[in-house]
């Protein structure tokens, strides 16, 4: 079973005894099962939590969750922990045909397992209430929570697009005389943003080819299998050594074809999927960048509003207007809000700086493992193929004599 727990199993220390004081939180997503019928059919997963943390009820808890529950958790965390790169989710399936294919389900299960584990091993995220609800709540509570969230906190697509526009500093806005884009422009941050955007392009291309490579393995396997079958048939035309040689070749070709199919699957799960995961992680960072831009914009706008308010205040003071008191109250509120906004923004900046370091380190080890699996798989495949073909040679020599 290829449960690749790439980011650790969430345990800070391996528990030496059940009553050990060392806190641990270990999660696994298993046992996908098809529920319901027809258009409304979906897959449910078992989420098993093992922990000794006091906030959690008991040592072990098993709940049933579906994909949209994971989406809920992701979105909640994204809302609450701005600045942190929330672990990415696997995509929604767009093609109906594959929604219930064994391979897709396994890939998704693996990705969801990694997702929850990353949250459970993140020093801040693991403390979230939402995670606790996700891991513990009964299905009814979960359904209710999920239902409540749709539409209220979700970002509308139009908002996102606007944010990205700001982030990418469209020159057109300036040219058209629209408001000057409010954007941080510290060189370091610029550099990081550019890096992230370009990185996504590079990664997407590599992942595209990696996916094709999986397909090619399958295709080679199929054509080798067909070739083997045809050669076996050719072997039946002769009773002599030649016929036997053909039959043996055909057999081997079919055996090797199976190896190729196996490797294709291994490649998909252990190399292409991590690459895809990497792409998703970068996209998650882009979302955080957008959040930061929003926070920055808000901070700037508030600062402007406060300035205007100050002007008004002074005006009122001078004219001893009765609006003064009201205005002073409003001013204080705005100031408080401004401080809060600034605080939030600073948090985001601080967190992002930590996160980027964590991200780079994590990706190095994630990809290192993926590369290792890739190379191991290819070596295993090639050795298997070489051995298989070589084993034919002694027989072939016998036939030739």
């Amino acid at each position: 079973m290829n449960t690749m727990q790439r980011s650790g199993s969430g345990s800070l220390q391996s528990p030496r005894s059940p009553s050990s004081q060392a806190p641990f939180l270990s999660v696994s997503v298993t046992d996908p099962a098809k529920m319901g019928n027809g258009v409304q059919a979906y897959i449910s997963y078992k989420v098993i939590t093992k922990t000794n943390l006091p906030e959690y009820q008991g040592n072990e808890k098993i709940v049933i969750r579906r994909y949209s529950d994971f989406v809920w958790l992701h979105d909640r965390l994204f809302e609450k922990y701005k600045g942190i790169f929330i672990p990415p989710l696997p995509e929604k399936s767009t093609v109906e045909k594959f929604r219930f294919s064994a391979e897709f389900i396994e890939m998704r299960r693996q990705a969801l397992d990694v997702f929850v584990n990353r949250i459970a091993s993140h020093h801040e995220l693991r403390q979230s209430d939402d995670l606790r609800i996700f891991l513990q709540a009964d299905e009814q509570t979960m359904d209710r929570a999920r239902f409540q969230e749709t539409g209220i906190f979700k970002k509308k697509p139009a908002d996102l697009i606007q944010i990205f526009k700001d982030v990418q500093s469209k020159v057109s806005d300036v040219v058209l005389g629209k408001e000057k884009p409010v954007e941080e422009s510290t060189p370091e941050y610029e550099k990081m943003k550019n890096y992230i955007f370009e990185l996504e392009d590079h990664l997407a291309e590599a992942q595209k080819h990696a996916y094709r490579l999986v397909k090619r393995h399958r295709e080679l396997g199929e054509s080798l299998s067909e070739f083997g079958k045809a050669v076996k048939l050719l072997g039946t035309c002769d009773d002599d050594a030649l016929g036997k040689a053909f039959s043996e070749l055909g057999e081997k070709a079919e055996i090797i074809s199976i190896k190729l199919q196996k490797e294709a699957h291994h490649l998909l799960m252990n190399f292409e999927e991590p690459l895809k995961d990497y792409v998703r992680a970068v996209q998650s960072i882009k979302a955080t960048i957008a959040e930061r831009a929003t926070a920055f914009k808000k901070q700037c706008e508030l600062a402007e509003t406060i300035k205007f308010k100050e002007i008004d205040l002074n005006k009122y003071r001078l004219t001893r207007s009765e609006k003064l008191a009201e205005a002073e109250r409003e001013y204080e509120m705005l100031k408080a809000e401004g401080e809060e906004t600034s605080r939030r923004f600073d948090t985001i900046v601080r967190l992002m700086n930590e996160e980027i370091v964590r991200f780079q380190e994590q990706k190095t080890s994630d990809m290192g493992l993926a590369f290792h699996e890739f190379a191991k798989g290819q070596a295993r495949l090639s050795n298997g193929i070489a051995d298989a073909w070589r084993s034919l040679l002694p027989k072939l020599e016998a036939h030739s004599s």
């Binding site: 727990q5 590079h202 590599a206 094709r212 090619r216 054509s223 190095t364 493992l369 070489a386 073909w389």
Partner: protein, 541 residues
């Protein structure tokens, strides 16, 4: 011809992309020379043509990713050395001649076709200006005694090859004669295109070499004249159908009355299958015969008694069908091998770009580490991609034997057709004899009743008896011819079986050795990377 011979272009990213990739390499690098792939016989690959810019800083050597040429060459040679089939007739790497065993391994007959030239046909009164045609230089080297020289050349056009092929078909009935290249009906514009000319030149060369490899045909007068006779080819072209129809119409009365020059039917004519217009009557008769054979009327005295042959033919037919199937699957296999190599290479390139990107923009050490890991994978992918390409080139060479034998099967079918038509001739003549006999009997019976003789009947009887004698001779000749063809079939079949056995075992061996060898090389490439990244395996779990 298998369409997958020129599979090398369009495989890799543009040359510009490759050239713009520069990696800072801290480690001292080996030779970083540009190289041209020794394997590519036709197009030179963009992949290989990376010039080292002399002005580049010494440690930015992109070429450290690519191996020096000795690597590629070494691989190519080592596998081919294993393949122990004798390569006769100076066969080059890309056209393996069938390793037939000549009578004496010291004999050689080496043919090369080269230098297509456009020539002008001399204008005749009817057509103003001339029509253009192409001639090829046919160079022969030999020590066979039939030839006047040991090294000589002639110029021949495609039409001459058709003539040669037709004449051989007439003289060597029953033999498995290699098929000549197709006539390709194309416009004169296409005729002169370089690609077409090269294709045709290669096809002609293959054809002539196959003829030279055939133990009997290589010694034929027809081939000798084709290769050696200077000036116009002295082989008579089989006349066109129109004139033969004319001839045939004139011949008819003579055939009916049994009168020919000297009163004898030209035995040679009988030895030939009924052709075109000349033998209209004969064709009618043989057609009638074959119909009556099929309808199972009177069993003809000479039956195809060889049950074994019937079985053999069926087996060969089955073999041909399966062979065709294998040939198709082989093409698909080659395509799949090409595709995986291509994709592996493209992925490698993508990782190269990523590596360069990370290296340039690295802020953290973790990035530099990742870039180093990625570079290893990128290098390995590119190497593996090249190995797939080489593997495929070799696979094509070996599996081409399948396609070659599909052509041989056509020759076999022709040889069996020769036999069938010869048999049909015999049967037709036997029927004629039989009907002549009954007519003579009837007349004699009627004539004997008339006292003193019936002059006209007696004359008639004499005529019929004469016809009978002539037909009897023709029949004997036809039977001899049929037996001869049968003997040829038998010998050729033996030769074919042996060659098929050897050729295919050789093909299988070559294919297997090749696949195993390249798989091992790929395994080594990946083993290194797996070892280099083994540290991550421990961390992950």
């Amino acid at each position: 011809m298998m369409g997958y011979e020129n599979q090398e272009s369009h495989l890799y990213a543009s040359k510009e992309e490759m050239e713009s990739l520069v990696l800072d390499d801290d480690s001292p690098t080996g030779t970083a020379q540009p190289f041209s792939d020794p394997l590519s016989s036709s197009s030179s690959l963009p992949f290989a043509e990376i010039p080292t810019d002399q002005s580049q800083t010494p440690n930015s050597s992109f070429n450290s990713i690519l191996e020096p040429p000795s690597y590629a060459e070494a691989i190519f040679r080592s596998f081919d050395a294993d393949h122990s089939s004798p390569q006769l007739n100076g066969a080059h790497d890309h056209s393996i001649a069938s390793p037939s065993s000549p009578p004496s391994s010291d004999d050689f007959l080496t043919i090369t076709v080269s230098d297509p030239q456009k020539e002008q046909e001399l204008s005749n009164s009817l057509v103003p200006g001339g029509t253009a045609y192409v001639t090829y230089l046919i160079t022969t080297r030999t020590n066979l005694p039939e030839f006047d020289g040991t090294e000589f050349s002639v110029r021949r056009r495609f039409r001459d090859v058709v003539t040669l092929s037709d004449r051989l078909a007439e003289s060597y009935r029953g033999f498995f004669i290699p098929l000549r290249p197709d006539k390709s009906v194309v416009e004169s514009q296409v005729m002169q295109k370089q690609e077409f000319l090269e294709q045709r030149r290669a096809a002609l060369e293959k054809y002539l070499r196959r003829l030279a490899a055939h133990p009997v045909i290589r010694r034929s007068e027809e081939l000798r004249m084709f290769l050696e006779a200077n000036g116009k080819l002295p082989l008579v072209r089989t006349t066109d159908v129109a004139s033969r129809m004319l001839d045939g119409a004139v011949q008819l009365p003579k055939q009916i009355f049994g009168e020919t020059a000297g009163g004898m039917v030209d035995a040679n004519e009988v030895a030939q299958p009924a052709k075109g217009g000349r033998d209209l009557l004969r064709i009618f008769r043989e057609l009638k015969q074959s119909v009556s054979n099929d309808w199972g009327g009177v069993k003809p005295p000479v039956v195809e008694e060889d049950k074994e042959l019937v079985e053999k033919k069926q087996k060969l037919h089955d073999f041909e069908q399966q062979l065709s199937n294998v040939s198709q699957q082989a093409e698909a296999l080659v395509k799949a091998q090409q595709d995986i190599g291509e994709t592996m290479g493209q992925m490698g390139l993508a990782f190269v770009k990523l590596t360069k990107f990370e290296t340039e923009r690295a802020v953290y050490d973790s990035q530099r580490t990742r870039a180093a890991d990625m570079k290893n994978v990128a290098t390995a992918s590119v190497k593996a991609s090249r190995l797939y390409r080489e593997l495929n080139a070799q696979t094509v060479k070996h599996l081409d034997k399948l396609h070659e034998y599909l052509g041989v099967m056509l020759a076999v079918n022709n040889a069996f057709s020769d036999r069938s038509s010869a048999l049909l001739t015999v049967q037709t003549l036997l029927s004629e004899l039989s009907s002549l006999n009954s007519r003579i009997e009837k007349l004699e019976a009627a004539a004997s009743k008339i006292f003193g003789g019936d002059r006209s009947r007696i004359r008639k009887i004499e005529e019929l008896k004469e016809t009978h004698r002539v037909t009897e001779d023709a029949k004997s000749s036809a039977v001899r011819e049929y037996e001869r063809i049968k003997e040829n079939n038998k010998n050729e079949l033996e030769r074919f079986e042996k060659e098929r056995h050897d050729d295919f075992l050789g093909m299988l061996r070559g294919f297997i050795v090749n696949q195993a060898g390249y798989a091992e090389k790929m395994a080594n490439v990946w083993k290194t990377v797996a070892e280099e990244t083994s540290g991550y395996a421990k961390h992950g779990s």
